[in-house]
Symmetry: C2
Subunit: 353 residues, 2 copies
């Protein structure tokens, strides 16, 4: 094994990563839906390649910057699942991208559809209409999807279909019903398309916590992101057991102050996400009862639930609450295949615009 980098750093268990990628690809294939993983989770061309080799039809991304990075690395089918508002510069960048990849973007208003048409008509960039299935973030009401789709078609854009994100499924109480809500919203959106004489080719949804509960008969495509790594959120939601978690932050015990364990993995490496259902600021993979009870920029204070403290200087594996946030703080992921540690650049890190 090559020398480890200085802690704190993010380490990937390559065997678990591969198993997670294969399992979800097999599930999608068995259900007859396309898999278009959300690459905002990993931002890594090395990992995108593994997903595409396992059968993903393309990638989902959140920003133009992410699309640019993956196009530069040869990904030929990209969906920016976000209701972009096109500045002149954003439109120019999308026109450039359209020459290099099959490209689709989101819209969630008539105004955005008209503006997008004015900027991108004739470039081949397609749109999908975003609908709100219960998260109440972006997206039109499902019954209004047809109106937006018609405006996009009128503006000269290829209208590929409809998408949603059932993000309210990130809740122990709502995981099941969110999948139901998603199916109902997408069905209503499809009906709304038909009301204006349009037929969606793509009906897209999915998320990691709802993965096993998605009504695949109501969708043509799923876009989970976190499924390949797992994190403490998925562990606590019961969506992914700890033995599937493929990314941890390796941290050093720096202090026993106050009789507690203090690690050098603070929020600047783990992220500060803390969902309402989270039981702490992160978990320890090999100490299921432990919780990070105090998280600051460079310190994680751990309650070990009565276990003997590991000695000063020892290394532990921390599971971040939300892996997308942790990856977006790192320039490098360290891939451990059991024989060597290889650096995988987080090439799209910080590409937020």
């Amino acid at each position: 094994m090559s020398q480890s980098p200085a802690t704190p750093y993010l380490r990937i268990d390559v065997a678990r990563l591969g198993a997670n990628i294969e399992r979800t690809a097999a599930r999608a294939a068995a259900a007859g839906v396309s898999l278009r993983p959300h690459a905002k989770t990993h931002k890594s061309p090395d990992i995108a390649r593994l997903q595409l080799e396992a059968g993903a039809i393309g990638l989902t991304v959140a920003t133009i910057g992410e699309a640019e990075v993956f196009a530069e690395h040869g990904v030929e089918d990209l969906f920016i699942a976000y209701p972009l508002w096109l500045s002149d510069d954003a439109a120019r960048r999308l026109r450039d991208l359209a020459g290099r990849a099959d490209l689709a973007i989101g819209v969630d208003s008539v105004g955005a559809a008209q503006r997008t048409g004015a900027a991108l008509e004739g470039t081949g960039v397609a749109v999908l209409v975003e609908v709100d299935s219960g998260q109440h973030r972006t997206g039109v009401a499902p019954g209004d999807a047809g109106v937006v789709a018609a405006a996009a078609a009128e503006a000269g854009l290829p209208v590929r279909g409809v998408f949603t994100f059932p993000g309210h499924g990130y809740s122990p109480e709502l995981m099941g019903s969110a999948a139901d809500d998603e199916a109902a919203a997408l069905a209503a959106a499809v009906a709304s398309f038909r009301d204006v004489g349009l037929e969606p080719d793509v009906v897209s949804g999915g998320s990691t916590p709802t993965l096993t509960q998605t009504h695949t008969d109501a969708l043509t495509e799923i876009r989970p992101g976190v499924y390949l790594f797992g994190d403490a959120q998925q562990w606590e939601l019961g969506a992914m057991p700890p033995d599937t978690i493929a990314l941890t932050c390796r941290a050093t015990v720096v202090s026993h102050a106050g009789g507690r364990l203090v690690l050098d993995s603070g929020s600047k490496v783990l992220g500060a996400d803390r969902a309402p259902y989270a039981t702490g600021g992160g978990r320890l993979l090999d100490h299921p009862a432990a919780r990070i009870v105090q998280l600051s920029e460079h310190h994680a204070v751990v309650d070990l639930a009565g276990e003997t403290l590991p000695p000063l200087g020892s290394e532990v594996a921390v599971v971040p609450n939300h892996v997308c946030a942790a990856v977006n703080l790192a320039d490098t992921l360290w891939a451990d295949d059991g024989t060597a540690l290889v650096s995988w650049p987080v090439a799209a890190r910080g590409r937020n615009g």
Copy 2:
């Protein structure tokens, strides 16, 4: 004005930045204490230069990686205010640094003092003993400071003094008493040094929310970080009014879904910090009644408290809850001096180890 970068991006009001730096430098000078700003907030050599020109005696940093970056940029006096546990590689890096800068590090146990001595005796690297003044994170009890100091001296290290961080002052209820706690803890630590025949040259504390309440007669040095930018936390604590906030995230209105304002400034640019006293996920500088009520990776949903929604495509200035987290997500800060936008690299971004 040069063309603005794509939103979301971090923008600095250079006039306000300069005023914040000058005001705090003047206050420290008037009180007769040294100012050693914590550079983890900005991670920027350009800003470090402004602080040093205004009279700062050196910088505080949190990690060896940050110290390396600032040393490469010519900063000659660095204190790593963290209880480092020295791996062989960390010891090698510190020995390298000791040849380029006056260097001190933290210790908070007899074990760490002994290990540090074994690794760094004779290099000139000094230590300060960290004491806990009420945050209950790292640091020994004040009365035990002398024991750790004696162990460090016995191990052959120059013992420069004692430090604390009154981080429990990040609370509306405790801002005043935290400064009292800090003074009491440092006085007890000094007494504990004297019990073992040592005299601390440096007695170091301070934080932005306690800045005006610090008992400067009990300290020789203060180490605030956030004071130069401000953020929504300082605004809500009443420590810095909004007209002193020098860093905002420029964001675009991308959606009016559900009759609310949705911005492209998500947690991947603002950070997800949300202190118990925070009233939302961030504030809008020009709309004091507004709150970010839902924050995900690429979306900030804003409740505008009844104000008319700014149109799609318009730009607004968002104040992150915790500016240190926001800066650590950016590769570049855009400095606006009223005539041009200049990029300042966040050179120490991600240098967590």
